[in-house]
Amino acid sequence: MEIWRLPISASQRGKLISAGYTSLSSLSSISSSDLARELKVSESEAMNILKVASHSRGSETSNASCSIVEGAQSAWDMLHDEESLMHITTSSADLDNILGGGIRCKEVTEIGGVPGIGKTQLGIQVAVNVQIPNDFGGLGGKAIYIDTEGSFMVERAFQIAEACIEDMSEYNRFLRKDFQECKIKMLPQDILENIFYFRICSYTEQIALINYLDKFLSEHKDVKVIVVDSVTFHFRQDFDDMALRTRVLSGMALKLMNLAKRFSLAVVLLNQVTTKHTEASFQLALALGDSWSHTCTNRIVLYWNGNERYAYIDKSPSLRSASAAYSVTARGIRNSSSSCKRIKMM
């Protein structure tokens, strides 16, 4: 409706409407190059259109918006938002493939596995990879690492950061031979500085910290990932009241989900594995029970298959079930080196 009011030429207006852009808000999250491609116009024309649109949006009052409920978004706008979301790579191409590009922002991803499978390694890798600058396809953001178990070793994070910078330099050398200005000026120390590390020793501290994150994130808007390693540890002691535990956990999950959506960041929760006794046989399940398993958006299970480490998408609203092999090397998480690796679709 508002497109009619934009001071643009009739042909441009016609192209916008036939491409599906009927409201100003749909133009708010698209980049000029994408718009140029969709409308088949030059990029400068697209930039002009966007400038005009944002100008008129700024001067409009709120009751001109076409949403029925305050704060609601049309599905079309949400689709645009989703497509423009970036992912955090895990440094393993196979793993990124089954994840649809990497760990997604605005969602809570739970990763669980037996001890020694690489959960902490994956957590550190994500905290380092979120800092990859935009030029290299990363988010260029900072990370919050909440350590409840004491598994975080600074020297290992340093090793992974060093390897990440080396990989970026390699990429630089291959693709941008003429652009000298894209030299890597990052040092491993800079990467470590951009990880906000919190060490938690009890479940009350954990809840208090998650409550405090709201304020922290409003002051540090460039944080793009929160890693909690592990979310389970302090909740597996004797809670006399199990109902209290479930309430506390769901409250915590809700808060994290809100933080993810509000600040457009990714939340990665690392979980432990426990056994469920079913009819005299055992089954492995992620800890914290059935009600917790409903609270996360995505769930990835890490497991051993022969001599290889595998990741399996257990639950996801948009990804299909698949598993991929990965390995933990001195440089961090990488593709598995076995020759017969294959991504299995279930």
Binding site: C201, Q237, Q272, T275, F282
Partner: protein, 295 residues
């Protein structure tokens, strides 16, 4: 709540007293973390514990923690004589760090523990104990030898009891980690092994860590206390011992011949650790202590 600066957070390590083992462990046993040593009896767990308690007293410049240690033992008797023997050789090789009439054994505090609840009780008293020790030589190493003995008999095999047992694991581990963080301690815990019987091993056959299966003395074993306890420790090391038949060349008067000799082969494996790759090394136990062997 403020985040800690990672650049100032260097993890200190306590040397094991042997450069080969230190190289395998990237410096030694880390502080602010629980390291578990799993082995069958007679493999050298207590030897490593005693050796570490002594070497923790070395100054930081030489890889130690300049600290005294708290040794909680659950199996009787405490090896006083062996500690004394190790102490003598420790003194003679590190005489320049200590005054003449000094006895390193004075800086190892030994306490016996009987049950899991007793351990929890002791840990609540440990807080003020370590606080007070800051005035003399601070305590920076806690050894629990062994944690398995506390749990092997008290619990029935019913789901309720097993749940209570798991709950205790997390409680103890949580307290130990809180202590470790507060006073920057290294915590060393030893664990026993149980046999894996039959091809269908069930939950005990679940692979945890780098090794598909742990072998010692020709049997397949797995660490005691199960999956719940495995989630409570930060790093796990495995000591194996095997009798190997080795060909030895012997020069005799009537020319060369070879004998087949049975030798004890001892190996230390890294099962899982956040900072260590999959690795192993051979070691031997002598009068002077436990040392790695480079082949």
């Amino acid at each position: 709540m403020t985040p800690q600066s990672l650049l100032q957070l260097t993890s200190q390590k306590c040397t094991t007293g042997c450069p080969i083992l230190d190289r395998l462990l990237y410096g030694g046993i880390p502080c602010d973390s629980i390291t578990e040593i799993v082995a069958e009896s007679g493999s050298g767990k207590t030897q490593i514990c005693l050796q570490l308690s002594l070497h923790a007293q070395l100054p930081v410049s030489h890889g130690g923690l300049a600290a005294s240690s708290l040794y909680l033992h659950t199996e009787f008797p405490f090896p006083f004589r062996r500690l004394h023997q190790l102490c003598l050789s420790f003194r003679s090789s590190n005489a320049h760090h200590f005054p003449v009439n000094d006895n390193p054994c004075d800086r190892i505090f030994v306490q016996s523990v009987h049950t899991a609840d007793h351990l929890l009780e002791i840990m609540s008293k440990t807080d003020p104990f370590i606080e007070n020790s800051k005035n003399q030589v601070p305590v920076r190493l806690i050894v629990i030898d062994s944690i398995a003995a506390l749990f092997r008999s008290d619990f029935d095999n019913t789901p309720v009891e097993l749940k209570r047992r798991s709950s205790l694991f997390f409680k103890i581990s949580s307290k130990l980690k809180a202590l470790a963080k507060r006073f920057n301690l290294a915590v060393l815990v030893t664990n026993q092994v149980v046999d894996l019987v039959g091809p269908n091993e069930g939950i005990n056959g679940l692979r945890i860590g780098n090794l598909v299966c742990l072998h010692t003395s020709g049997r397949r074993v797995c660490p005691a206390l199960g999956l719940a306890w495995a989630n409570c420790v930060n790093s796990r090391l495995f000591l194996s011992r095997n009798e190997e038949v080795i060909r030895e060349e012997n020069e005799k008067s009537n020319g060369q011949s070879c004998d087949f000799v049975k030798k004890k082969m001892r190996k230390l494996y890294v099962v899982f650790a956040p900072h260590l790759p999959e690795s192993s090394c051979e070691f031997e136990i002598t009068r002077e202590g436990l040392f790695g062997v480079e082949r």
